[in-house]
Symmetry: C2
Subunit: 404 residues, 2 copies
């Protein structure tokens, strides 16, 4: 199978789809809860779920028992684990993260590879990725049928067409990820901007972020932003994410990977901090390679030891971040702003300057309406987010009714 099933149109299939999607988004739910969620009567829910149960699509979920309540206990329902699996892939500058999750959402295996891909031509790039996925699948998913693959990548992604239009981490442009991988793997492929994937995954863990507007700022290899409106991804002009990291926040500022100058990313991303720190220390400027995790830990260590110049650098980064969040608040007035990613590891050294800059860059009345939080979210969530989207696409197929 190469493509995902189409959206159902028949009324009954639509109801099934809404029910399955509610389960996917809200986790295991009892029938009464589904009824409230979907605005349907217990009778209708009972009919829908009984067929889904006999078809083996749903199962009773014993793990999430709520004891101590009066009355007949709730029976929570969730997806069966034997409906196949999906693989989520995050492609970074010189690293690839893989995750295999079964239909019930349980992670079966993960893998992390150091593998520089940035200079490959599109075809070779696709060959490499496909081979990596295939190897992972045969090794980790022996007993499972792989149903789909999700890819999260930095940059501007057209997730409708499945193309990485432009990415700061690949030399090639307009890489047809979906088509290319689908041909090589014989599976449907979802492509998502990595910050969007992160936003989705975080919202799954924090239900309060699923109502209203949540802007999730991810700082790491680059700076990305994912915007959720009532838990659903806001998609830009071509179904892509946002390139908030390349908002030019300082005129004539430092060089950025995108070719511009003074982008937010050029102050906050790992490579930018590393580059500037090296320069300050009179050490030769590194070539454009990404710093290793060890190098960044060492940098943090220097800051902890009170390296004045480095602390100034981080303070400058905090200022830029404050201005950036100011722009977000003034432009979008989100209910929640989440700052996450590896870039938050230096938060203690950044916070003061951030607060001060944000105070100057936003109107107090508006700032007060926005709930700000800094999360130490692990990179694992990137693959989780795109896998979640994959599963939702596959659920469309499950909502189809078999002719009997």
């Amino acid at each position: 199978m190469l493509t995902f099933p189409a959206h159902p149109t028949a009324p009954k299939e639509l109801a099934r789809r809404r029910l399955l999607d509610a389960l996917r988004r809200q986790g295991p739910l009892a029938r009464v809860e589904l009824g409230q969620e979907l605005g349907l009567s217990p009778a209708t829910i009972s009919e829908l779920t009984s067929s889904l149960l006999t078809e083996g699509i749903l199962v009773l979920d014993d793990t999430s028992e709520v004891a101590g309540a009066r009355g007949r206990p709730k029976q929570r329902l969730y997806f069966a684990a034997d409906l196949g699996a999906v693989i989520g892939v995050w492609v970074g500058y010189n690293r690839v993260e893989l995750r295999l999750v079964d239909s019930s959402g349980r992670t079966r295996a993960t893998r992390s590879l150091e593998r520089p891909l940035q200079d490959l031509a599109p075809d070779l790039f696709l060959d490499e990725i496909a081979a990596t996925i295939m190897a992972f699948a045969t090794e980790a998913g022996r007993d499972l049928t792989i149903r789909a693959v999700g890819v999260a990548a930095q940059g501007y992604v057209d997730s409708k067409e499945g193309i990485i239009t432009w990415s700061p981490v690949f030399a090639a442009r307009d890489i047809p990820i979906s088509r290319g991988l689908a041909e090589r793997l014989g599976l449907p492929v979802v492509v998502e901007n990595d910050a969007s994937a992160m936003a989705l995954a975080i919202a799954r863990r924090h239900p309060e972020l699923r109502t209203g507007r949540t802007a999730t700022l991810m700082i790491g290899d680059g700076v990305g932003m994912g915007l959720l409106i009532d838990g659903e991804l806001y998609r830009g002009a071509r179904s892509g994410g946002s390139e908030f990291g390349h908002v030019r926040i300082r005129r004539g500022g430092p060089q950025c990977r995108c070719g511009g100058r003074g982008c937010i990313e050029a102050f906050l991303a790992d490579y930018a901090l590393y580059r500037d720190a090296q320069l300050m220390g009179q050490q030769p400027a590194p070539d454009s390679l990404m710093p290793t995790e060890d190098a960044m830990t060492a940098l943090l260590e220097r800051a902890r030891d009170g390296d004045r110049a480095l602390l100034d650098l981080l303070q400058g980064a905090g200022e830029v971040l404050g201005d950036a969040v100011g722009i977000l608040i003034q432009t979008l007035e989100p209910d929640h702003v989440v700052i996450c990613g590896p870039g938050t590891r230096a938060w203690t050294f950044v916070e003061a300057a951030f607060d001060e800059a944000l105070a100057r860059a936003s109107i107090p009345e508006l700032r007060a309406l926005t709930n700000l939080r800094v999360l130490d979210a692990s990179q694992d969530l990137l693959t989780e987010g795109v896998i979640f989207q994959c599963l939702r696409e596959l659920d469309l197929g499950l909502s189809r009714l078999e002719a009997v």
Copy 2:
């Protein structure tokens, strides 16, 4: 009546509401067109419309005849004109615009008043506005029942609660417009940010702006931004609009009305241009009052005559505007960006610098996805936009079924 009717929940009323809303948004439509729009069969549409016609809510619309087509001609339907009227009010720094529109959307009267309101205390402010509306209603709407009032204002508006939380043009804060006017007028009141109202009105005239994301930048007394997603208003944290004009785009830039420095508005708004032009001409800085329309025309005249300093000033404004649109594109990736408002009158002197700045401030691949247009939209649209929202709220009442 003080409040708007609640959203219907019964299935039939919901269908009526969807039908009426489609008519309100897409203008007069034939039954077949309604069927396609709503995904309902001709049979269902026929049943729904026949009752709406006998109830006198809809009428046949002869004005929009399409000749030359084969087959039986379409009968377009639209709202009857005798279901009452609404008044739309735009409250500016020292001007109030009024418009009276009947239920069929036809403008029956307009009025424009010079009336400084900015220094009044909330209660007096509400008294003034209420008196103005009342006078206009008794004079212009003699034969019509006024059903509701819509208010468009600059600043951060909580349109759910009907409060102007913060506005650069009023000294007072948290003005309870909805409640205050509803008490004084005995009518339900809609409050909307003025740029949002403008965005709605423009989208009504340009159907292509109703699909995808449209960011409408309005430059005039201040700088506002309204964001539409598939024709529907994006609402921030507290159902407000956006205060994009107070994004701080230059550190330590010129003073802004909001108290900050270097806001977009402080470079582009009429008062800012006027102030800076006066300063340049060695003339005494004007007090904080808004320039009159005449003063701005004179300014434009000086630019046409080749006043070097003034042209530089406008060029600087163009640069800021380019950077601002760059931020919009990088953050939201809208399908359309519309620049409108009185501030566009100097466009010829601004354009070159704008283009250059925008090119530097955005990634070419993303910029290419955004359709940019500059519209010479008149201020009249402000009242039209908020009236449109009023009518939609009132349509909720029409979608209710009478017990028979």
